[in-house]
Symmetry: D2
């Protein structure tokens, strides 16, 4: 994946300290991690320190910390709020300072652990088509339900009849805010629980740095997910994640950005959902104006014809959307 031609012309290759070239390889195993984290914040010591360009292989837990082990398990009985969505890291990147940007090229997200490796479930007061703690209603909840699935690179065995493609991605990734410690359930300007399927092997995500070393966290990998993560839960899995981490000095912006072979994307998280779309599209408008020669209003008009938007989640404390435009149109 990291040898694809487009990478040599990626923003990472052109602007990052190590030029997008791979450096040393590190392993952050479950054992090395020890305790996982449940907030994205600066108030802990890093688990690992790396140089720009280094590759890190991280063993992540699933969003449930692995405690939902059978279809007979009750999520509410097993889960212990707020200790949900355990995160690996933080990883300290030498030289990263506020005003810089981490470039993280995702090499691989591989299923880890015993089968059935995939888990999804229905939990009370959580999900896109039920009342929640925020959309606080008096209706009775849905019944809890757990589904365990065999997952490997050939697919997600949803049922005897339905096999979904294995389209893995990282549900939660980001850096530390400057002074806040944000729940790993929440997506925001720092990244976090965006649940956006574009954060997948092959893509490069750009994360503006707020604190020395950046403090990269990662977790919550999904084997498959629909737009919106409708029930609040994807096909959750433990994973082995391979990340190539580089550093771009003096490049900063308000929200995470993403690049693939074909498009550039900006990611916004907010409620109501239109505000997530507005953030994502405004950031894209500004990016086109700053780096691709567009007049801002022309960029706005062009996105009205050629912009694409992907719904990540419509279930987390903030909803996430990614707005994109094909690179071939970036000729303002």
């Amino acid at each position: 994946m990291d040898h694809e031609a487009w990478l040599t012309n990626s923003i990472m290759a052109r602007r990052a300290v190590a030029g997008g070239k791979p450096g040393s390889r590190h392993s952050l195993s479950v054992e090395a991690q020890g305790q996982f984290h449940y907030v994205y914040g600066p108030y802990v010591d890093p688990k690992m320190t790396i140089d720009p360009g280094d590759i890190v292989v991280v063993e992540t837990e699933d969003a449930f910390g692995g405690v939902i082990q059978s279809e007979q398990d009750s999520p509410t009985a097993k889960l212990n709020f707020p200790f949900l969505n355990p995160q690996s890291g933080p990883i300290y990147v030498n030289g990263a300072e506020k005003g810089d940007c981490l470039a993280v090229h995702i090499h691989a997200v591989e299923t880890r652990g015993a089968q059935p490796a995939g888990t999804t479930c229905i939990m009370p007061e959580f999900g896109g088509l039920v009342g929640t703690g925020a959309t606080a209603l008096l209706n009775p909840p849905l019944p809890e339900r757990v589904r365990k699935m065999h997952v490997d690179k050939d697919g997600v065995r949803w049922s005897d009849k339905i096999v979904l493609p294995y389209e893995p991605f990282i549900g939660t990734i980001g850096v530390s805010p400057e002074i806040e410690a944000v729940s790993s359930l929440q997506p925001d300007y720092h990244g976090g629980n965006m649940d956006l399927p574009d954060v997948a092997p092959g893509a490069i995500i750009y994360l503006p740095v707020h604190t020395p070393g950046g403090y990269l966290y990662v977790g919550d990998c999904h084997a498959a997910q629909g737009d919106g993560e409708l029930s609040g839960v994807a096909v959750e899995q433990r994973a082995t994640v391979t990340l190539h981490v580089d550093l771009i000095k003096g490049w900063s912006f308000a929200w995470p950005r993403l690049e693939t072979k074909d498009f550039i994307m900006t990611i916004g998280s907010a409620r109501p959902l239109e505000d997530a779309a507005r953030i994502a599209y405004r950031e894209l408008t500004r990016w086109m104006a700053a780096d691709y020669g567009f007049d801002e209003i022309d960029a706005y008009m062009l996105l009205s014809q050629a912009g694409r938007i992907r719904l990540g989640n419509m279930v987390d404390p903030k909803y996430t959307m990614g707005a994109s435009i094909l690179k071939k149109y970036l000729v303002g």
Copy 2:
């Protein structure tokens, strides 16, 4: 297009009165239309009466009624609210009654009129990244701007450097409500100004009937549009629209539905945007439960992994989203 194999197995072919087979051919030219309509309602006489299965070729106006003719035109000076988004029709379908459903297979949407045939613009207080009449703010408006483009089946000539593919669709289509007369600027349960690019040649849209004859209206064709119709305006064009209209007796539901070769889709319109997504996904959940053998909660869980959602508009009085699932997964 209407000879594709999948059509013989479409819902239209299996359930409609004329079995999806084409009947007589009618023409609703601009001259035959005479006055256009600016509401979807039952308070006018039909312009044409057809039988189930008939094909209608409709000449539609563009959303501006054709008055923005040069890049020097001021939209605010030329446009006369509420007489915007002129609609052709209504077409009375013999036998259609409340509780039935029109099946409209879109055969073609062809650019009509002199070049430059495509128009887009920036208008004050309208669009996804500006304050509006509803998101009522004190900020100064953006300046007005008009762009006229050559459009034909080979593409939309946005600029010397950028040619967008010609991906036409019908921005506004629907039936009459039972007693309301709804502005043609608004999408809702009756269809209307959904601005959803899936309402395109090749697709079949299913519109539940609320009033005798159904009263089908159509207008506002777009040559290209991004997700969300960000600036509020797509590449607007006059068009010749070919519709194959059939009738399904005794099939009714709350919101428009759509079928293509590969997927089924439900369409919701609401504010805030998450409510559009909720409507669309709940309708899809219920459809899967009613017609495809799924337990409702299983359908909900599967959509969390395999559902897709498309943002139509984030600019109209209600925002529109279409939720879909591939037909190959409809094996509950």
Copy 3:
């Protein structure tokens, strides 16, 4: 009430055609009304024609059309959507044209009909703390429940222990849109189902005219209501409403306004709720700038310290808020 001193200095007295002085008195009884209306629109003949300054005594139906007669009645069995919230009128006001404004001074709202005259209930998919047709969820509904109450001017006998004050107001009042026919369940720029308790005896409501004669409709009186009309239903009652209707030529604005002895208010209806607040407050800012000598930004800053906002409904197709400022601060 109409003899209070403040009235002689009201906008109605200072600007209206009849100077706020009462003219002829008319009666629009249930018998004279005949069929009630379920949309606010121009597509019917007026039930009565009056001159500016005339007084009209209207007998209104309750929001259920009177069909919920006992606590054993099932609302879903009795009600026939969309024939809900029957409206009296329309009343044609001689001389009213687009660009003018009706001034309606509410003299009285008196309970009408046999006891128990007050009705409230729980209906499925309707209300502020349940999933609805728009906030479309999969949760099971609440059970239906009906409560009938003795209501007179001394109070609303909620239970043996609780008597609420009789604080009547008009839930639904407004004029016809120019070309739309809007469901009487919906509030919007034309007034309609605002469910705002300030629309009460003693207040003057100002309604911009969109169609010749204005076409004043009224119905849906409440004996008492909390902020938000939380369950979707107030203490609904049949009422005798006394309205003093005058006409202000050449005064127009985007949304209804209201005046009492102590304050002026602007009314906005939208979803999400913050947009209703934005509309109301922007209209108030502009009104202060246009008529009371404030710089617009100074008005905005002052409202940040002295503005008041009342939640009308958080249950109708649009939510309604009224923003107000005390007259004593209108010295910009």
Copy 4:
């Protein structure tokens, strides 16, 4: 104020460890505070430790940290995000544990410091009637503007013509979350930047404890504020705040609650605004059911007639509303 009769029957008096009786008196001066805090979190040492029943007199900074000193100051030049809204504390309450609740009776909020002691301003991308970082738009911003005012207990001298009553309250107060460190600009389940005028002298606020000692923070006092804090800024002031802090063991709930002589209130913070209303009203429904003998659906129906809701802010990262009911109706 603390000698009023109702207090002896308050929840604080009936349930708290010290029975609502005043203990020792402490002073947390600006000097004792030293560094202020910009997050509500557990990752710092307490500034003071007290026993249940103790009284603390706290000197608070204004929301700008005092740096806006003249009407010629530019807020954007002077302010250093995220170091806004400095908070005093945290105060450790002996015996407080997760599952308990702090009861904080507000004795006084007195203006502190040199005149003009009141400050308000317009800042770009912040406020209820402008585009913001979340409602991200392309419109140009409003110009910055600062207003300084003489403030004392006799009033807020807005201008030569307008004097607003001195109606002080605490804009930001709360406890630490369990593991999060939340920006002091944000209101949430832990309290924080609610900007709700009911949090005023005479009221008791009840804050559920999430971490040992509770960690009470306070700051951001306002001399006056309208509903919604429309421009994003109230009449900001440095203040001397007198708090009587007690502890209720084993009483916990999801969101802050408040009690006055006449009513009980529940406070919700969320976006969109209707979710803040839903949270507040659901919490109130549940409180009425848990402690006042109501069937939950009866409580819901009664609130539909007798509930009151106050808009705190419509400008912060979450919007805040307080739902209340008069104590005289709490006879379910």
